[in-house]
Subunit: 154 residues, 2 copies
Amino acid sequence: MMTEKSPNPEAGKDTFDLADFLPFLLNQAAEESSLAFQNVYKDRYGMLRTEWRVLFHLGMYGRMTAKEIGARAMMHKTKVSRAVQRLAERRFLNRTRDARDRRSEHLELTPAGEAAYRDLRGVARDYDAKLARHFTSGEVALLRSMLRQLAGIR
Amino acid sequence: MMTEKSPNPEAGKDTFDLADFLPFLLNQAAEESSLAFQNVYKDRYGMLRTEWRVLFHLGMYGRMTAKEIGARAMMHKTKVSRAVQRLAERRFLNRTRDARDRRSEHLELTPAGEAAYRDLRGVARDYDAKLARHFTSGEVALLRSMLRQLAGIR
DNA sequence: TATTGTTAGTTACAAAATCAACTATTACGC
DNA sequence: GCGTAATAGTTGATTTTGTAACTAACAATA
C-alpha cells in the first residue's frame, strides 16, 4: 500500500503539481485563512462578504460612491449595489444623491455603521496579526507585496 | 483636491489598512490572478471552478473517490458531488462502485477527460510560469510555502 | 440479529452570484 | 437644441452555491 499519493508518473519528467499551482494555492489560502473572520461578521452583524467589504471601504476611506467602491475592491457594480441596499436597510449607511450629477450617490456610514466598522476593524487587526505571527515580519512584508502585485493593485 | 485617498485619520496612530489585510489581499490576489485561467477552462470546456479542480485531481493523482477529492481540495461533499455529476454527464469521467463498500464509488477520467486534463495542465503550467516570472525563484518558493501554511496544507 | 450509529453520496430548498436588460441622467457631436 | 452615446445604478431571469435533510450501505454492540 502507498503511504501517500504523488503526481501521476505518466507525466514523465514534468514536475507540475496542482498543489503548487498559484491560482489554486491562492484560492485555498484565501478561503481557509478567512473562514474564522467570516464567522465573526456573519454571526455578529449578519453580514456577507460583500457587505463587510463595503463597510470597510467606507469606514477606512470615508464617504464615496458605489462606483468607487467597486473600482477599489474590484467588485462588479451589481454586487456593490445589492450590498449597499442591504447595508442601507439595516441603517449601517446613508445614501445622498450628488447635486451636480444626480446619477451617482454618495455613501456614508451612519453612527451604527461606524460602530460596526470599528468593532470589526479591531477583530480584523487581531486576526491579521494572528496570521502574521506564523512568519517573520520580513516574510509577511514580502507576502503582502507579492499579493498586491498579483492582484494588480498599483 | 486630493491625489489619492488614504486611511481615515480618525484612526489615530492606528495604521491598519484594509489593503494590507491578509484575508482581503489573498482574495483579491486569488480572484485576479485566476481570471485568465478561468476563461480558458470555461471557454474551452464549459467547466466551472469546481469541475476543473476535480478534473485535475483525477488527472494528477489518478483514480479516487469523491470523498478523497473533497479532503484534498477542501471542497464540501455537495460541491464535489455536483461537479462529478456534470463531468460524468459530459463523459469526462467514469464512476464505478466499490465492490467491498458499495456506498463509495471510484472516479476515473475517460480518454476525453484525460485529453482535457492534459490540455489544461499545459495551460496551467504556462500560466503559473507567467505569474512566477514577476518574481525571483526564491520569492516564489517562499510565497508557495507561506500559502500552503496559510491554507493549512500539511 | 435487532438497534443504534456512522459514512458516502444525493437531493431539495433557500440564499447568493452572474449576466443582461433596464431607468435615469449627463455628455458629446452636429 | 436634438439625437446619439455613455455612465451610475437597479432590477429580473438564470445559474451556482450553501445548508440541511435524506437514502443507502456498512459497523458496532448488546
